[in-house]
């Protein structure tokens, strides 16, 4: 099989979905962010965003913490070490596939 096609076949399917790719890329660049920030940047509704985050949490890529900022409940999200490694690997494979 051609090297580029093989790289496409090996892309991480959990991250490759456009919505989850946006989430992981945004979280990769920060230490942590809250649900509201991801909703603002991705323009997804609460249900869709929650569903993508659940999928990423199941895969062990995202850590979700429920906390409070003052009296307001806040959902903090951060990429786990496994998530960081998976995203870095995804970018490497994507480069292989398109270059």
């Amino acid at each position: 099989m051609n090297r580029q096609i093989q790289a496409i076949a090996e892309l991480d399917r959990v991250i490759h979905e456009p919505g989850r790719l946006m989430i992981t890329a945004l979280l990769f660049a920060v230490e942590s962010a809250d649900f509201l920030y991801l909703q603002y940047e991705t323009d997804m509704n609460k249900g869709t965003l929650s569903s993508h985050l659940s999928r990423l949490e199941e895969a062990g890529y995202v850590e979700i913490t429920k906390t409070y900022r003052g009296k307001v409940p806040q959902t903090l999200l951060r990429l786990s070490e496994a998530g960081r490694k998976a995203f870095a690997e995804y970018r490497r494979k994507l480069k292989q596939a398109v270059l």
Binding site: L21, A25, A29, E31, A33, Y37, V72, L94, K95
Partner: protein, 220 residues
């Protein structure tokens, strides 16, 4: 790949979405301009000539700027478009760059003093470096390029102002043979223009942000 790269850069641009990045830098520049003015124009023996006055002034200014930044972020930005904590792992890179820039600056000053250069000449370069720092914060916001152009035009105007006028801003005082009244006046004006442009630009950004966003309704 370009889209992924653009996504990776969004959190850094988000820091200045409400104009606080510009406000912090601008208030700092205006604060130091104010201190410079007081230092140059206060009568001999005034407290504004003491080194402790600079430390006290810088300390108070830093606290005020910190409170303004924190107030805007926690009362407006985090409630409307969310909270972001940035990674601090690359602090050593910033430190290394600061050390290299300081070393180059010191070497430049040393050479300038040895060769009796006129330090009012590189004010144009100094102004353009400041403009480059501003451009880093602009992102894709088009109207801010107009603000940047105004600043560059101001720097060019300062560079061609009559020497007498520039020296008047420094009260015709020279600190050393290197820092002549002309050099002090030119740098003071450049700093003042930078602070003014950043504060105006940051204020417009904050006004636009407040009018274009709203906090999501709390669920019962």
């Amino acid at each position: 790949m370009d889209q992924v790269q653009a996504l990776l850069q969004r959190p850094a641009l988000y820091d200045n979405i409400d104009g606080t990045g510009e406000l912090v830098l601008g208030l700092g520049a205006l604060g130091f301009s104010l201190f410079g003015w007081l230092n140059l124009h206060a009568p001999a023996g005034s407290v504004w000539h003491g080194m402790y006055a600079l430390f006290l002034f810088a300390g108070v200014m830093q606290v005020v700027i910190y409170l303004v930044h924190k107030g805007i972020k926690s009362r407006i930005t985090y409630r409307r478009t969310g909270f972001v904590a940035y990674r601090t792992g690359k602090a050593w890179v910033v430190m290394a760059v600061a050390v290299v820039v300081s070393a180059l600056g010191s070497a430049g000053l040393f050479m300038a003093s040895r060769r009796h250069w006129d330090l009012s000449v590189p004010v144009l370069l100094f102004g353009l470096v400041m403009a480059a720092l501003y451009i880093r914060m602009i992102g894709a916001v088009r109207w801010k390029w107009a603000m940047c152009s105004i600043y560059v035009a101001a720097v060019l105007a300062i560079a061609v102002l009559p020497a007498d006028l520039v020296e008047a801003f420094a009260n015709h005082q020279s600190i050393s043979p290197l820092l002549t009244a002309k050099a002090l006046g030119a740098y003071w004006l450049t700093f003042l223009a930078y602070g003014a442009v950043l504060v105006i630009s940051g204020s417009i950004s904050l006004w636009l942000y407040i009018h274009q966003t709203q906090a999501p309704a709390q669920e019962a």
